[in-house]
Symmetry: C3
Subunit: 302 residues, 3 copies
Amino acid sequence: MKFLHELLNIQSVSGDEGEFTDFLLTYIGKRKKSWSVTPEIYSGEEFHDCILLKFGNPRTAVFAHMDTIGFMVRYTNQLIPVGGPEIIPSSKLIGKDKYGEIDCALLGDEEGVFHDFPRKIDVGTRLSFKQNIRVDENFIQAAYLDNRLGVYNALLQCETIKDGWVVFSTYEEHGGGSMPFLLDFIQKTAPIKQALISDITWITEGVQHHEGVVISIRDKFIPRKKFIDRVIDLAQKSKIPYQLEVEAYGGSDGREVQFSPYAIDWCFIGAAEDHVHTPNEKVSLQDFQSMVDLYRFLISNL
Amino acid sequence: MKFLHELLNIQSVSGDEGEFTDFLLTYIGKRKKSWSVTPEIYSGEEFHDCILLKFGNPRTAVFAHMDTIGFMVRYTNQLIPVGGPEIIPSSKLIGKDKYGEIDCALLGDEEGVFHDFPRKIDVGTRLSFKQNIRVDENFIQAAYLDNRLGVYNALLQCETIKDGWVVFSTYEEHGGGSMPFLLDFIQKTAPIKQALISDITWITEGVQHHEGVVISIRDKFIPRKKFIDRVIDLAQKSKIPYQLEVEAYGGSDGREVQFSPYAIDWCFIGAAEDHVHTPNEKVSLQDFQSMVDLYRFLISNL
Amino acid sequence: MKFLHELLNIQSVSGDEGEFTDFLLTYIGKRKKSWSVTPEIYSGEEFHDCILLKFGNPRTAVFAHMDTIGFMVRYTNQLIPVGGPEIIPSSKLIGKDKYGEIDCALLGDEEGVFHDFPRKIDVGTRLSFKQNIRVDENFIQAAYLDNRLGVYNALLQCETIKDGWVVFSTYEEHGGGSMPFLLDFIQKTAPIKQALISDITWITEGVQHHEGVVISIRDKFIPRKKFIDRVIDLAQKSKIPYQLEVEAYGGSDGREVQFSPYAIDWCFIGAAEDHVHTPNEKVSLQDFQSMVDLYRFLISNL
């Protein structure tokens, strides 16, 4: 939990993931010797701010996006959304520009968003929700569970994975753009036929807390039925609690797998949260545990 | 016509084209020896549910999508569209889940779509319009003429084509996703400079039944004028009846040719239908014949 | 200025850039010997209507799109926009079909656009704003400054560039489609890590005439912060006047760099205009000079 707190406290609004990348690289460097298999690590300018870990002989890749939603300062005191944050007046926002630390509140509504910081903030500065982590027996509640829990799950998989890629992507909340070059590198280095998207989805009338990790049959995009059926069959065999999701909206890094020039099957698998894209995202701890368990099972058995 | 009836009676809602693919592969296996040139056949898991046929030394590829619009069962009795089906209350829908065959009616409107099947249907089950084929001297009317007629045209081309690719794609009705890897494979195997999209378009104030196959100058996307001009010049020379289309909306597999990393020209050529994306799609038999004739002419002369 | 007038007087609505391409190729052929470095020229059918110039050992590519917005004739006297032209009744439109030259006026509004030409115009004919170039001490005003000034800047860079690609793209105003194959060719021929988009942006409450060339921190898409920071640092050092832009909307060839399968950083840099996408686009001559100066500085120093 201490480590998860650290993950949750680093800002990385889409396009500015560098600090978070460095944090993960340090962690990976320290921990990799305790993992079942020591991965090859690919990172650095050639990969922008992304990280790829190759374990053994991959059949499957796990993708977790490192970026979060947020806001960018426009002129005067205007803000423009990055990704799709909920506009909740009085939300606390933090950031940093060349004059120093920023701690302010959000004003306005869907028509126009502003900050109340007493001084001008540099044009282009990124702000994000002030973190407030709350944990009890059943739930974790915080900003950016989407997708710090997806990243955390991916790191936990590193402990036991024998064969596979674990990949940390950027920009996902704002249309994507790193997946195409990541997939290209993967297919040229140690190609895969299947991808699991380690990300957080939504509580809806059909998806409830404590009912298990969600396997998404579709969001705005529709993965191939044959693969989803295999995943569901394995989930059934695993006895790990899971729920099925069918949504008309929403997307993930899976979209860019679908539209890539490679015939790679994909499936979004992740715990569900409510208060999506607010400072109060809330996930059942049991559901997160099911997520970790199901990834472990699928990575071995797919 | 018996074969076309068979084509029209197989369900293959986007993402679940497997049964239709198997049907085509069986047909191709049986018929290929009667064709002018015996093609190389590429299919199987490496190509997901797509099929590529390579005849001789290709300059041109013909693409026909195998999937259809439909609906997916969400929670309780809700339905979510796959592709853009018309929402017509009382339309008959069929499908299948692990409890057996489904035959029900559509309820609701654009705001919310439901089914009236008395039992719960498995989450994620695909439903599609119940088929009702009507043929007279002048017209064929049925569900899924878009794109079973495009597939049928592509198969008829196989009988006479000497040089070219004939390719059956998936997911087209729901945003695409197979074209990028199909194009990648084509360009690495026997590259082309031009693509014809064998698909069905719309009757509008400028496109009428019995006026010939439609050559589309644009839909939402705009192919290169130099290529369209060549196609129209050839159509003119062929004496085969054709019409020109200029639309602001709509898309096809041509979109993914346009945005591919290859400089491949493309043109949408197909008969027009009215009652688009309903159980009552209606196409002039003469126009379909012009489509078959024009493809034959263009494949030889482009 | 005489040359810029020539550039401004050639029509090249998206998809029909051929005549403009030929004009540029003739110009490049004549002038290349006077340039510091003689480039390798890539053009012809293999590149559709695009042109690539490779100077020395490239680290950076400059992209300028050659196409303009306009209209396409539909049936009867209807027009459909190409790209996003402003619909201003009575705007003069010109074009050409097989019956001869066309000179007419635009009728209608956002609901429906028409022309008043007394005879039928061939379906699919492209029309564009009649040119009217006005220059005084401070401003140039004309149709299609977007992106003839971007092209002009790119050509001026050719005079002094030692290492880099200068690339002229097509279709940008209507969704793009040439960038993927241009990038593919570049990366296979002489790969780059960074791209500058030579295009024209908008006057807004934060971007004013005579305040310098605009460096765009974001439009609808968000380039990587690390690269933008480097560009801004260099601009600062150069002492050339510049302004920073933060917008929620708009796109450019940068979008396709972002979504390409290559880890290439990109930044949109260009003068701002008002009366965007009208016959009266207006740009400060000083701002254009700053654009030329900053490109020169960045190409050497990035």
